[in-house]
């Protein structure tokens, strides 16, 4: 029999307590226990980036952590990115620049690149592409995502 642990996690600013089995991945905890299905699961070995969340403010693969490790920590998921009906500038720019097609990779990209823009308000294209390198997109060819990030950066500066 496996043991279970009670964890207290702050998710998008709201503190929750749950009991989890140690082997439960943080990605599955977010989707199946918290019912926040915006965080997507792609490869489950840290390559595709679809499951990227912010863990204590840093973009992190939620498929490479266990839920039990989140005890006492803060998580941000894509559901917390907009302010009500007002999209985050990066979400708006992704929409305006056609930065998504099927949308499967989009939550991971939004979490990665919104944190990137917070610490890099004036990135060039090279820096954007490097920051984006850990997120696979099979639809767009990336060009429109890069356009969106640069557009969001410009809008966020003004």
């Amino acid at each position: 029999m496996t043991d279970s642990h009670t964890i207290a996690v702050t998710v998008n600013g709201v503190r929750t307590e749950k009991s989890v089995e140690p082997r439960l991945l943080l990605s599955d905890f977010i989707r199946h226990e918290l019912m926040l299905a915006g965080t997507h699961v792609g490869c489950e070995h840290g390559v595709c980036g679809a499951c990227t969340i912010l863990f204590d403010g840093f973009p992190t693969r939620s498929c490479l952590m266990f839920a039990v490790q989140a005890d006492g920590h803060e998580i941000a998921t894509v559901e917390g990115l907009s302010k009500g009906e007002t999209l985050h500038p990066l979400q708006q720019a992704m929409h305006d620049s056609h930065g998504l097609q099927c949308g499967y990779c989009t939550p991971g990209i939004l979490m990665t690149m919104s944190a990137f823009l917070d610490s890099n308000p004036s990135p060039d294209e090279h820096a954007v592409r490097e920051a984006l390198s850990g997120n696979l997109c099979r639809c767009t060819g990336y060009q429109h995502i890069v356009d969106a990030v640069l557009l969001a950066a410009e809008r966020m500066r003004t």
Binding site: D3, R23, E44, T60, L64, F66
Partner: protein
């Protein structure tokens, strides 16, 4: 895939962690950044019965410089990237970091976890070998130090005993007039290298090379130290001819295993080209 069930033990102090490892031995793995361990668990290539989470051990995290640079085993890659002192004194580490996976992985991955995992394709084992680092191991009963050169035994194998933990990495600073360079070739940014090289050379007062180290990742079962090639450089200036000869010696010494993206002869070729480029760059930086 999902990981097999395991018992989770959270360590609040180093003593607690070492006591747990002494108790569970081979059955247990330390959980540091988890960026190599968790994928292998997701694939059930690794099924440890116990995970000892050492993330609360802030005492193992940090970078100190006093003649040497001491890096705690739980220091995350992002901390190394952000450390200006590393950039100044051990620039080759900064040069290699962007090649290690992706920012999200580097936010979590730790130097000690990486070295303990001992993936032969990984960059830091080769860098630590080139820098002649000393690794500090602890168990509940004893402490010992081991040179990076004696640490790696095989693919994913080190000399760490079942009751031991790598706690600290001590890196000596390079002599004056040294130049270092890290380069690798991978299919995509962040992928495992087809071949990678760390080259370090020192220029003496008379303009000749007095010290040279050449190490490789991705081309053998452990990080590879090209002794003869490095020795061939000592005593003369690092001219294009000397570089060519060293690269030829390195290629001769290498016996790469090949992988799905590169057969052994191509890996050897890439290693030779990288040797020439990295040596020329390192020498120019002396």
């Amino acid at each position: 895939m999902k990981p097999a069930p395991f018992k989770y033990v959270i360590a609040r102090t180093l003593d607690e962690a070492l006591a747990a490892k002494a108790e569970y031995g081979d059955e247990a793995r330390f959980l540091a950044g988890g960026q190599s361990l968790v994928p292998t668990m997701n694939f059930r290539m690794a099924m440890p019965a116990v995970l000892i989470d050492i993330n609360p051990l802030t005492e193992l995290s940090g970078i100190k410089a006093n003649g040497v640079t001491r890096i705690g085993a739980m220091t995350r890659y992002r901390m190394l990237e952000a450390d200006a002192g590393i950039g100044e004194r051990l620039r080759i580490i900064h040069e290699a970091l962007p090649h290690i996976a992706h920012p999200q992985i580097r936010n979590r991955g730790t130097l000690g976890g990486n070295l303990s995992h001992a993936d032969p394709a990984s960059e830091m084992p080769a860098i630590m070998l080139a820098l002649n680092a000393t690794l500090y191991l602890r168990s509940a009963k004893a402490a010992r130090q081991i040179a990076a050169r004696d640490f790696f035994v095989g693919a994913l194998e080190t000399v760490i005993a079942p009751d031991e933990m790598l706690t600290e990495i001590v890196v000596p600073h390079l002599p004056a007039n040294s130049g270092a360079c890290f380069m690798e070739v991978a299919r995509r940014q962040g992928d495992f290298a087809i071949a990678g090289i760390a080259a370090i050379v020192t220029r003496g007062a008379d303009g000749t090379c007095t010290r040279a180290r050449l190490t490789y990742c991705g081309v053998a079962q452990t990080p590879f130290y090209a002794d003869d090639a490095a020795q061939s450089l000592i005593g003369g200036p690092v001219t294009p001819a000397a570089i060519k000869q060293a690269a030829a010696l390195a290629m001769e010494a290498l016996d790469p295993p090949g992988n799905s993206h590169a057969d052994p002869s191509y890996q050897r070729h890439v290693a030779g080209v990288l040797t020439r480029r990295a040596l020329a760059t390192a020498w120019a930086r002396t």
